[in-house]
Assembly symmetry: C2
Homo-oligomer: 486 residues x 2
């Protein structure tokens, strides 16, 4: 047992210690020897996440190849009280996919389960396994002349299972909703290994409780999603993208209101960008180019899509002309080529990457009722700068959904560690302004480990009681992703 | 106790008998004497439903005026194990809102709680109490230049609380989703009187489990919805409606596919109508007028809406021309006036009313994957006519959602009672074709009493186990709408 010294600690339940190392043999018997990883080097990639905020330990990494294998692994873990941490592409930002440092859990990696089980373009559905990478799902849909609209920064490596477990958001939520809204049916393995088989293609089905939405967004704490029936859409026949300069978030909100009224169903993205975010990208990202000749304090990236090939550019122009006539916007450009469109998007999507070159950054993924965003940004900005003079606010993101990534870069020349040491204090300032507006401290990234202790402070007491009761009902031994969410 | 002889039977729990009549005084103390109805005549309207399939008994009808009163009533019922049957506009079609015949329960009528608590057009939200009538909610939205898109036959009397408890559907689901999709936040009173207060206006909020969707569609068996934050939309600036004649459901499906590709986001209704349904309406409804000069076996009512005032008629015309060029449709008319549009809708919406004049009718509210609808209708039609020669199939409804109301009128001249006596047999024929396609036996009406015994036969075994476990967790004494759903 020498080899496993790091894994067992005082918190490891005795039953588990006794069961080990028979456990490893048990997992190998289920998934095959090559799919159980036990060496430290092999496990390392599953125990750290990209931002390196969380680093865990595990008994082993188990990589099942089928739903039946997942069920057998869960049955074994349930019998022996071994905790299970499900993991997809390991791109989550709140530590939900990383086991605790104490060890004793297994990481259940779903990435081998990446099959397209079926695509049914006529019914606009696609049945995929949890380990399929989001970009691959987008491509499968595209091959069938359909759109799967979920789209976010990590799409090249995050998986559908992770997207659903965390109810992922992204840049198209304003038109198509979050991950939750893109699912018709689910297959889920429960804590004790039972398989819930609800791979329905139905748009309407009022036969009992909505179990699907209980698992979506539960971050692997109530069951392991192994497959899903996803909603597809016709491929848009026209896309028009504008990059718009304006003076304030209030003007951006007025533009949103106008655009919704004039082009409602066609708005697929409405992203807010502060000038400083643009400056960061222009300074640090190769080939990023300035769009407008005049300088503005804020920008909006507005994208419209339509099934009609004709007329969309005219409708976008009409929105921009009305906005200019009403003194809402300063200047605007419409992308005239795919290359220009790509540049517009680069200026939005690479803000987090560019921000890394500007020293320490304290991040927030918050939402408030949409109309409250301008006041919220004013208030947070004042309070943060009062606390840390010179701190640089870079609030950007999904204004159309009320969801702003309110990231704050350190003052120029300040010490990175000294700035990051004030993480909790700055969090508290931002969350105060969020909560007074009945906003959310996690709009799209989830709770995971990062915000677990905060949750009871901000959530309705009865909601917490219900969540705990449901957790107890579905996972009475507490083996599913312990230490996350609750 | 003589007076209450009808109410108590051998099934009434002893604790409850002992508690009564102190109970009535208890309810009166909470909601006021005038809001507790105990006389048979006063209660009658709450104990029967429109189709008269279900007739129940109750201790009394309690009409609370606030969430606090609902909570106090529930607390009392929980302590004394008195069952509670929540009721809104009493328009449900599956008996969910009617107590059992054994008596012993109270009807909790929410219709006094009909306040608009807040409307926030800037954030596109509206907070209403459960007892607000759907049409009133539509009007409140309209007054603020917004659209609340839920729309269905009973909208003049059904309530928001009932709509949410049953996850109502209707004629705009293809564009805006079911009731579930139109809710940001909920206020719910739990079985023991605790109040879950989650009246969030947020579009994005990933802080823990999705409790909201557990209550929506649970038909009052997990909690009593007392208020909701509803989603609003900009009012459409253009509406175009076409009445289209075609040969088969397969052609209707091809038209849907084409229309989605050419006008996707703008389709707000796509309703299928068989010629016989049209004949029934023309025969029995005053002022209903034939639309097309040529006769067709099937019709589609297609409605598009847009935020752009310009161009929608052209886009509808382009769809119809492409469909005609591809020999998908026979003839079509576009409504040139509000009066014509109203006539188009009358031909669709009054089919159930007209059908009443044609003798007995056996009804089904089913869904299958959209692409399977043509085969499904062929198969059901053959099987029903084989079983009952001369039976007249009137399948109509929401083709765009895969949801057909597959209603069957008796043969001309046959005995009504003899026909209705074969209800279960005909159900079995229809459900067989539904289930082989993994369809739903209740697309939008719910389970209630009508389909409760059927549910375990058609639902995934693990799903049933989970539903029972959740019911046990949220309502351990089983006082919430007993005998419904589970």
């Amino acid at each position: 047992m020498q080899k496993w010294g790091i894994i067992f600690n005082v918190n490891t339940p005795p039953a588990q210690k006794a069961a080990f190392p028979g456990m490893i043999a048990g997992f190998e018997a289920i998934v095959g020897k090559t799919h159980v990883i036990t060496d430290a080097a092999g496990m390392e990639g599953f125990l750290r996440e990209p931002r390196d905020l969380f680093h865990g330990n595990a008994l082993c990494v188990v990589r099942p190849g089928s739903t039946q294998e997942v069920a057998a692994v869960l049955k074994l873990c349930h019998e022996t009280a071994i905790p299970v941490v499900p993991q997809g592409g390991n791109t989550g930002l709140v530590g939900g996919q990383i086991p605790g440092a104490g060890g004793g859990a297994i990481v259940l990696s779903l990435t081998r389960m990446r099959r397209l089980r079926e695509i049914d373009p006529a019914s606009n559905t696609m049945t995929v396994e949890a380990g399929m990478v989001l970009a691959a799902a987008q491509e499968e849909a595209s091959r069938a002349d359909r759109l799967f609209p979920l789209s976010l920064g990590a799409e090249g490596s995050c998986t559908i299972g992770g997207n659903l477990a965390t109810n992922a958001g992204g840049i198209n939520v304003i038109a198509y909703g979050s991950a939750r809204d893109l699912v018709f049916g689910l297959e889920v393995v429960l804590a004790d290994g039972r398989i819930l088989s609800d791979l329905s293609k139905l748009k309407k089905n009022n036969t009992g409780y909505d179990l699907k939405n209980l698992f979506i967004g539960s971050e692997g704490t109530l069951g392991i999603i192994t497959a899903a029936v996803l909603k597809l859409f016709p491929k848009p026949r026209a896309i028009e993208t504008a990059f718009i300069g304006l003076a304030t978030p209030r003007a951006a909100f007025a533009l949103l209101d106008l655009a919704r009224d004039m082009a409602g169903g066609e708005i697929t993205s409405f992203e807010l960008i502060p000038r400083i975010g643009l400056d960061f990208v222009l300074a640090h990202i190769s080939n990023a180019r300035e769009v407008l000749s005049s300088r503005h304090a804020w920008y909006v990236l507005l994208e419209l899509r339509s099934q009609s090939k004709e007329g969309l550019a005219d409708r976008l122009l009409a929105v921009l002309e009305a906005a200019r006539a009403n003194h809402i916007i300063g200047d605007a450009a419409i992308a005239a080529s795919l290359d220009q469109r790509e540049n517009f998007w680069k200026l939005r999507e690479l803000i987090p990457e560019a921000q890394r070159h500007e020293g320490g950054s304290i991040k927030h993924d918050v939402s408030v009722p949409i109309a409250d965003i301008p006041d919220f940004l004013d208030e947070v900005s004042r309070a943060v700068i009062q606390a840390i003079p010179g701190a640089r606010l870079v609030p950007f993101g999904h204004l159309g959904d009320g969801n702003i990534h309110c990231n704050i870069s350190q003052p120029v020349g300040a010490g990175k560690q000294a700035f990051l040491a004030r993480w909790d204090e700055i969090n508290a300032i931002v969350y105060k302004s969020v909560l007074v507006r009945k906003g959310s401290i996690s709009a799209e990234h989830g709770i995971g480990q990062l915000k677990r202790d905060l949750l009871p402070q901000v959530k309705d007491k009865v909601a917490m009681e219900l969540m705990r009761a449901i957790k107890q009902t579905l996972d009475p031994k507490g083996i599913l992703n312990p230490g996350k969410v609750l």
